[in-house]
């Protein structure tokens, strides 16, 4: 689906990280693989350290912490908010929704639309798309897009395929109308036929959690996990991304009516350094225009990757100037998308460390 949005802009980004940093070297003994083999992945994949929440922290806690920062520093006003969109695959509960938890915590009006969207790594673009559409009916107001995941709770600590790369994080992106904003071009695609490449088998109505689903087993490839844990077919996801994303980027650039050379930055989802290098080459983008440093510093923060990569790498610069950015993300579903927009002159673009 191709979408063109007018008079919309991102006006602020706040990223919230857990307090605890966990180092890859300290986790190597958790895995059944030979130490030398695992250590080799450190430089190739960019595994260095990642951020993980405390045992009793839920996804909404990070969101609420960030929102408190925004309110205390008067970066947003509760009266201006018309919608809360929360994109997560690790909600606090199935019911009630994380967005309603946030609304309740801050005493927001009952007129504020609360919407949870179950999306993973492509969740930033999906959330933005919904926010832009909601603003059409609420001129003068702001929509808050929360991307939050605490995947450390859903990935086995003995799964070398997935655990080293996950990172817990929440981001809050403020979206509003702006008559002077340049058009935003977006293409979002879905391929449900490959959905099982990223799956948490148990915990839903198909296979409710039980003592059996919680039992840890050797998966046959040296990784130990239960049916309650996330399973990723890394080879299938890699091939999916390399096949689908390059033509998607080319289509979106053409749709935007620009040339590839006009793009200042490629701000992509952050699966791992190897995949991003290969993707940059396949797209024909200079590697130094694509940020690849989020996994090594924070882990892969799922749907929060793009705003975290923007804040970490561009930060203050995004409060001062407009930069033409190509955003892209891909993940569970499987889902993939790209967006071309002028990102900049934000009211704020920050990262804070929470006490979670």
């Amino acid at each position: 689906m191709k979408l063109e949005f007018h008079n919309k802009k991102i006006s602020g980004i706040m990223c919230v990280l857990p307090e605890s940093e966990v180092f890859f070297d300290d986790e190597i003994s958790n895995y059944t693989f030979p130490e030398a083999q695992t250590k080799r992945l450190k430089s190739v994949m960019g595994f260095e350290k990642h951020r993980v929440v405390k045992e009793d922290t839920a996804s909404s806690d990070l969101c609420i912490y960030g929102m408190e920062q925004l309110l205390q520093t008067k970066k947003i006003d509760k009266q201006d908010v018309c919608g809360i969109i929360v994109v997560t695959i690790t909600p606090d509960h199935f019911v009630p929704h994380v967005s309603n938890r946030i609304q309740s915590h801050f005493g927001l009006s009952e007129d504020v639309l609360c919407l949870d969207i179950l999306q993973g790594c492509n969740g930033f673009l999906v959330g933005l798309m919904q926010a832009f559409m909601l603003l059409d009916y609420n001129p003068g107001k702001k929509v808050l897009v929360f991307n939050t995941d605490t995947l450390s709770k859903k990935v086995s600590k003995q799964d070398r395929n997935s655990y080293p790369l996950i990172g817990d994080c929440a981001t809050i992106t403020v979206v509003e109308q702006d008559e002077a904003a340049k058009p935003i071009y977006c293409k979002i695609q879905m391929d449900g036929t490959q959905g099982d490449a990223l799956i948490i088998p148990a915990g839903g109505s198909r296979m409710p959690c039980s003592t059996e689903t919680a039992r840890m087993k050797d998966s046959g490839d040296g990784n130990v996990r239960s049916l309650d844990n996330l399973v990723m077919d890394g080879t299938a996801v890699f091939q999916f991304v390399m096949t689908k994303v390059p033509p998607l980027i080319a289509d979106t650039i053409e749709f935007a009516g620009i040339t590839q050379e006009e793009i200042d930055w490629y701000i992509f989802h952050q699966p791992n350094m190897f995949m991003l290098k290969k993707l940059a080459d396949k797209i024909g983008a200079p590697r130094d225009k694509m940020f690849m440093n989020i996994v090594q510093n924070f882990g892969n923060p799922s749907g929060a990757s793009i705003p975290l990569a923007a804040a970490f790498n561009l930060g203050d610069r995004l409060t001062q100037e407009d930069l033409k950015c190509c955003l892209s993300a891909f993940g569970s579903g499987l889902s993939y998308g790209a967006m071309i927009m002028d990102l900049g002159r934000l009211d704020f673009c920050e990262i804070c460390i929470s006490n979670f």
């Binding site: 083999q37 994949m45 395929n161 040296g222 091939q239």
Partner: protein, 79 residues
Amino acid sequence: MMDMIMNILQEIRPECDFASSNDFMNDGLLDSFDMVSLVTELEEKYSILIDPLDMVPEYFSSVSAIASLVRKSGADVQN
């Protein structure tokens, strides 16, 4: 080139007996993460860029299959 590839394989998985295997992937000698390590080493040693779409098990099943991948990726080698 065959010797060089075998040396790289032994560096990546020193505990494995590659000489006795007919299919490194099916026999469990290499997994997808080893493929990534191997590609990185091959790119560095032969100054090539391997197309990610070629990162499929067929090109990693044997030393000769890996050699054909290296040649396909533009390595300037005679044997």
